[in-house]
């Protein structure tokens, strides 16, 4: 069952420097219980895309298209309507646990309020549930620590707290925006393991945003590759990694240093992403693409299925 469907999503920002199209014609869907990884550089629009799902974009943003959650269109809903879904059916955790939790309130308050608002629970019952969740994310001494302030936790612990907070209402979808980027590598592995474990336990669908292909390979079922707001490649992880179609994805994979092969120099995709307010008539990646054709500059490649469930937007495959 497709729990989330994104159709022709566009996100535009009106700024002093002109209008910036952060997301352009995004199309994908997520099956219930899946883990989808969204990969891209900074400026690829991956964060903006997921923020639009929950209506968390800045005031100068305009959205077009459809985001269907259980067949309900989310774009254009009022704040009041969205509040029923946020934290309740779709939850989100953010990149920096240091600044994403209110340092002036106790964790217990920040956790129980979710249950009080969405489930109408009394504080005592909510607290008990919160402690249970603490244990589910493996925070020791849960009964004492639940009353701590955020600064009394370490970075990795804080991310666990965020995860616990997000899963309190047992949401259908958990969106994790680069949850481990700000953490040590060892802690990273722990958090990923935790997410997998929780997915097994609660059956949550997870949308994971990351720029780390290793994480994608280890944890995700499907992967969506974005560049400059547009989809480059999308499909089953195995298929995308082994039968990579898009030059950008190929470039990304080539850029990962390998320990099993002798390497002379580190590979980097040549060039730089163009400034944010630049619009492309054709493929946005063609400037940096080593296999680009004249055609690529003028015509946008359409999304084409290579095999079942594996799509790419590139003229070379057509």
């Amino acid at each position: 069952m497709e729990i989330l469907q994104v159709k022709d999503l566009q996100v535009t920002f009106n700024t002093q420097d002109g209008s910036i199209k952060a997301v352009n014609r995004l199309n994908f869907s997520v099956k219930a219980g899946d883990i989808l990884g969204i990969v891209g550089e900074s400026g690829s629009g991956k964060s903006q895309a997921v923020m639009s799902i929950l209506g968390l974009l800045a005031k100068n943003a305009q959205t077009q298209g459809q985001v269907l959650f259980k067949d309900q269109q989310l774009l254009g809903l009022s704040n009041k309507q969205l509040n029923q879904i946020r934290g309740n059916q779709i939850a989100m955790i953010f990149q920096d646990p240091m600044t994403s939790i209110n340092p002036y309130l106790r964790i217990s308050t920040q956790m129980t309020e979710v249950l009080q608002v969405h489930r109408g629970m009394q504080r005592k019952a909510a607290l008990a549930l919160a402690i249970d969740m603490f244990e589910a994310v493996h925070i020791p001494e849960a009964t004492t620590r639940i009353h701590f302030y955020p600064h009394q936790f370490s970075g990795g612990m804080r991310q666990r707290v965020m995860i616990a907070m997000a899963l309190l209402c047992e949401p259908d979808i958990l969106i994790a925006d680069e949850p481990t980027t700000a953490l040590d590598v060892t802690v990273q592995a722990q958090i990923m393991k935790l997410l997998l474990e929780l997915k097994q336990k609660f059956g949550t669908t997870i949308i994971l945003i990351t720029h780390d292909l290793g994480v994608v390979a280890g944890v995700c079922d499907h992967v969506l590759v974005m560049y400059r707001g547009e989809m480059m490649e999308y499909g089953d992880v195995t298929s995308v990694f082994h039968y990579t179609q898009h030059p950008y994805t190929q470039g990304l994979l080539k850029s990962v240093p390998r320990l099993d092969q002798p390497q002379q120099a580190l590979y980097a995709i040549p060039g730089q992403p163009a400034p944010a307010n630049q619009h492309f008539a054709g493929c946005p990646f063609q400037e940096r693409c080593e296999q680009a054709l004249q055609h690529c500059q003028e015509y946008k490649p359409a999304l084409r299925s290579i095999t079942t469930g594996h799509q790419t937007a590139c003229h070379l495959t057509q």
């Binding site: 929950l54 968390l56 704040n79 969205l82 509040n83 029923q84 879904i85 946020r86 934290g87 309740n88 939850a91 989100m92 953010f94 920096d96 600044t99 994403s100 939790i101 209110n102 340092p103 002036y104 309130l105 308050t109 309020e113 979710v114 608002v117 969405h118 302030y149 600064h151 009394q152 965020m162 907070m165």
Partner: protein, 306 residues
């Protein structure tokens, strides 16, 4: 927490000492004595006066004598108003200044916080611009310019309010002085609140609060309020100093018999003990107040406490 309190209390002592010492030596070192009048006193009387007020002792001796007296809560006799002790003068003037100053502070906080919040929530709308313009005006135009203008308007032309005097039983005498004293503070607090709230509302943890589906009112009251208040609490110290300073001018304009007026008179009359008394008294007040503010800050910000 207790350690924090004790630390702060101990910190107050050297500050107070500095103020006392500074004031003492400053006044003593100035040319002119307390009894310089147009008439030159016969030498015998001068000597007797010197002896009575211990002016014949060395500066250092006078200093320690004064310190000792202070510890006993005695500010000494007024040099100029010879029938009164400084304590008595302070007792007459302070209650009035306290009423004036406290009312002004409370007004400033209430109005300033409200205006600032309004401006922050309606950022970049006409409401915001209005508040900011008013704030800029309040901060730029000194209150000794506004006060006479308001007096001109309300007391002289419209005759709605009296032109001076202070009578706590007649609210009409209180309105203008309190307003004029509060105005610059309202302006500054509004600005501060607006900036603080805008910054808080853009922070990551507020974004998380939105993502949790919490209603706006809850986000404002529970998540945004405390951090917004922090810079304002920090400002309370200088704000009080500002109100005290401002009271000097306001008391002059509205002929209010408060402590500020005594200070200026004392300064002009070279009344050493009176001037010292007022400075030390206010100094102690401010230090105490800062201490309370520190406690308040610690209560708001858990990172300071733990």
């Amino acid at each position: 927490m207790l350690r924090y309190i004790i630390k702060r209390l101990l910190g107050m002592i050297p500050t107070l000492l500095v103020i006392i010492t500074l004031a003492f030596f400053l006044i003593r070192l100035a040319p002119g004595g307390p009894f310089d009048t147009d008439k030159t006193l016969p030498e015998e009387i001068q000597l007797n006066l010197d002896k009575k007020y211990h002016l014949d002792e060395s500066l250092l001796q006078q200093y320690f004598r004064y310190l000792w007296q202070l510890l006993q809560g005695d500010f000494g006799p007024s040099f100029h108003y010879q029938d009164y002790s400084v304590n008595e003068l302070i007792e007459t003037g302070f209650p009035v200044s306290l009423q004036l100053g406290l009312s002004a502070m409370i007004l400033a906080l209430l109005v300033g916080l409200s205006l600032g919040t309004l401006a922050a929530l309606k950022q970049n709308t006409s409401a915001d611009h209005l508040v900011m313009s008013f704030s800029m005006t309040g901060v730029s135009i000194p209150n000794f310019v506004i006060a006479p203008l308001l007096l001109l308007l309300f007391a002289v032309h419209l005759d709605w309010l009296p032109a001076g005097g202070w009578d706590s039983s007649r609210p009409s005498t209180i309105i203008l002085p309190v307003l004029c004293l509060a105005l610059p503070q309202i302006a500054y607090i509004a600005r501060l609140t607006r900036a603080s709230m805008i910054e808080v509302l853009h922070s990551n943890y507020i974004r998380t609060a939105f993502a949790k589906g919490l209603p706006m009112r809850l986000i404002l009251m529970r998540h945004a309020l405390k951090p917004t208040l922090l810079p304002i609490v920090s400002y309370l110290g200088p704000a009080t100093a500002g109100v005290i300073t401002g009271s000097v001018v306001i008391e002059k304009i509205f002929s209010i018999p408060g402590l500020g007026r005594f200070f200026v008179l004392g300064a002009l009359n070279r009344d050493y003990t009176l001037v010292m008394g007022v400075v030390i008294f206010y100094g102690l007040l401010i230090i105490l107040f800062n201490f309370i503010v520190d406690l308040l800050y610690a209560w708001l910000d858990p990172k300071v406490r733990y």
